[in-house]
Symmetry: C2
Subunit: 153 residues, 2 copies
DNA sequence: TAATACTTGACAAAATTAGTAAGGTATTTT
DNA sequence: AAAATACCTTACTAATTTTGTCAAGTATTA
C-alpha cells in the first residue's frame, strides 16, 4: 500500500545524480540513464517537469547537461515528488483539485489528512544533501519507531 | 501521490461501523452499505478478507451480521490496511515478496524504508477507539508539523 | 422451510502507470 | 558553416492495477 510510482522514484534518483555534479559540473541524461538504469526517453520526460518547476536548469550543446538550480541542502524530497506526482493525497477527497463531498460525515477524513501532513513534513526535512552524505543515514536507522500520537503533539 | 485504494478506505470505514456495534450488536453488510455508501457486493469482498484475518467475526442467519473480534482500542488502522492492501511498500523493492536488486547501490533505499516505517508506526498508534471518540480528534489538529528528522531520533 | 445473511470465485470496464517513438530545437566545437 | 552533442516536446500504447459487478452458492434461525 501507499506505493510511489516509478516516476517519483526515478526522479529522486536522477536528482541525486545531478546533485553529484553540483555546483558546476553538468550531468547528461545519458550519464544518469547509465548510472541509475533508467531509459533516456523516460528520463527526458521526468527531467523536463523538474526543469519547468525550477529545480534544475539545463545547458545545451556539447559539454552540456543538467545542473542543480539550488544548493543540495535546499532541495527537499517533497518538492521533487510533488512536481512528478502531485500533492500528497492519501484519499482523492483530499486532493485540492477534487474536494470532499462528505467532510462532516466522514470520520476518517481527519485521519488521512493527518497522515498526509506527517508524510509531507517528513519528506520536507530530507534534502539531496542528506542523500549525498550517505553514511550518516546508515547510522541509527530503525531507532525511532512508535513515537507518534494522532492529533496530539 | 501515495494514494490509498478505495478498498483500504472503505475497509476502515466499514470497520468503524462494525465497531459502533461493539460488543454485541451485529452490524449487517446492508447497514454498512447504506451508512457508508458502498455497494454490498464490494463490501462482501472486503469484509471477507478482514474476517479471514481475524479482525472481525460473522453471525449468520436473521439478526446476524458482523462483530468486532477485539476491543476497538485493540484494532489499529495499520492492521486493517495491511490485510486489504498488503504491507506498506513505498517502492516495490521494499515489498517482502519482491526484494531489491540494488540495495547497496541504491541511495534512496533507506529513505523509502524510513518513510515506510514512519507511516506504519503512525497508523499503528491509531485505533478504532480513536475514530469512535471523534471529538478529541478534531482538537489540536495540524499543530504537529515539521518535527521529524531522517535517521535521527 | 422460508427468510435472512454471509461466502466465494469469476469476470470486466475503467483508470493509471510505465514506458516507447519520432521528430524538433538549441548550442558549441571544429 | 556544418556536424556533433544534448536537450525538448508531443503523441501514443501496452501492461497493470483498480474498482467494482454478477451469479451462484452455504449456513443459520424464526
Amino acid at each position: 500500500m501507499l506505493k510511489l510510482s516509478t516516476k517519483g522514484q526515478y526522479g529522486v534518483r536522477a536528482m541525486f545524480e545531478i546533485a553529484r555534479g553540483y555546483p558546476e559540473n553538468p550531468v547528461t541524461i545519458k550519464e544518469i540513464s547509465e548510472r541509475q538504469e533508467v531509459s533516456v526517453a523516460y528520463l527526458e520526460q521526468i527531467l523536463n517537469k523538474l526543469r519547468r518547476a525550477g529545480l534544475i536548469r539545463s545547458v545545451k550543446g556539447p559539454g552540456g547537461g543538467y545542473l542543480l538550480a539550488r544548493k543540495p541542502g535546499d532541495v527537499n524530497i517533497a518538492s521533487i515528488l510533488k512536481e512528478l506526482e502531485g500533492p500528497v493525497a492519501i484519499t482523492s477527497c483530499l486532493d485540492p483539485e477534487e474536494g470532499c463531498a462528505r467532510v462532516e460525515g466522514c470520520v476518517t477524513h481527519l485521519l488521512w489528512r493527518s497522515l498526509g501532513a506527517k508524510i509531507e513534513a517528513f519528506l520536507e526535512t530530507i534534502t539531496l544533501k542528506d542523500l549525498l552524505e550517505k553514511e550518516p543515514l546508515l547510522k541509527n536507522f530503525d531507532t525511532d519507531h512508535k513515537r507518534y500520537k494522532f492529533g496530539a503533539a
